[in-house]
Amino acid sequence: MTDGVPTWEEIARDHGRFLYAVAYRLAGNAEDAQDLVQDALLRIRRGLETYRPGSLQGWLARIVTNVFLDDVRRRRRRPTVALPPDHEHRLPPAAAADAASEALSEEVQRALDSLPPDFRVAVVLCDVADLGYDEIAGQLGVPVGTVRSRIHRGRRMLREMLSGAET
């Protein structure tokens, strides 16, 4: 690393896990999340010279988010293709997590998946990437009031979905 700017190799090695965490919450499944991370790493390599030392995770989260949003727009323009029935061999085994928390987590993931993408992005950047509202606004290029409203409305929708499912 020179002048606070990491090399692409360092990012791929040290931040793959962070990128995957954000990607998984956005994409909702392991396979799409892996594709998002791979595309994001390519963009990171191309864009690294524009990175200015600051919040590295914020910058990385923005790139993986942009890959996700581009993907969402592309999918809207073409018919969706169903997953092949034998895709389970690509799913990672949740060795560390116990069954109960994994089931709960999957339920939360399904609820997240049903949020509009803009809302999902705001909630994920806040909770997984741990960015503040103004940082998210800066990364997405929208006013902070918009970010606040998306997060609050997204959370309210999640709560309604999850409390409805529980009772």
Binding site: W8, E9, A12, R13, G16, R17, F18, Y20, A21, Y24, R25, A30, Q34, V37, Q38, L41, R45, R90, L91, P92, A94, A95, A96, A97, S101, L104, S105, V108, L112, V123, V124, C126, D127, V128, D130, G132, Y133, R148, I151, H152, R155, L158, R159, L162, S163
Partner: protein, 77 residues
């Protein structure tokens, strides 16, 4: 602070977006109001579950893909 006010501000509270003074007001309300405290616990837990994937391991397949990309591009390799 009443319940409407507390609920309105709870997300900002969770996300660390409120001033110390506002945080203290909400905490005082949560101490006195079990229904709001329950709502707060739910939101807190939900936030943790969403963040939990951070502790998940990167799948071996992705590790392999990253290693492959590194191998192809590393000038020192």
């Amino acid at each position: 602070m009443d319940c409407d006010d507390a609920i309105h501000k709870i997300y900002g509270f969770l996300d660390g977006e409120l001033t110390v003074w506002r945080r203290r007001e909400i905490l005082r309300h949560l101490d006195e109001c079990p229904p709001c405290a329950q709502g707060y616990d739910f939101e807190m837990e939900l936030r943790q579950v969403i963040a939990m994937k951070c502790r998940d391991e990167v799948p071996p397949e992705l590790k392999r893909r990253i290693a492959e990309a590194l191998g192809y591009t590393s000038p020192e390799a």
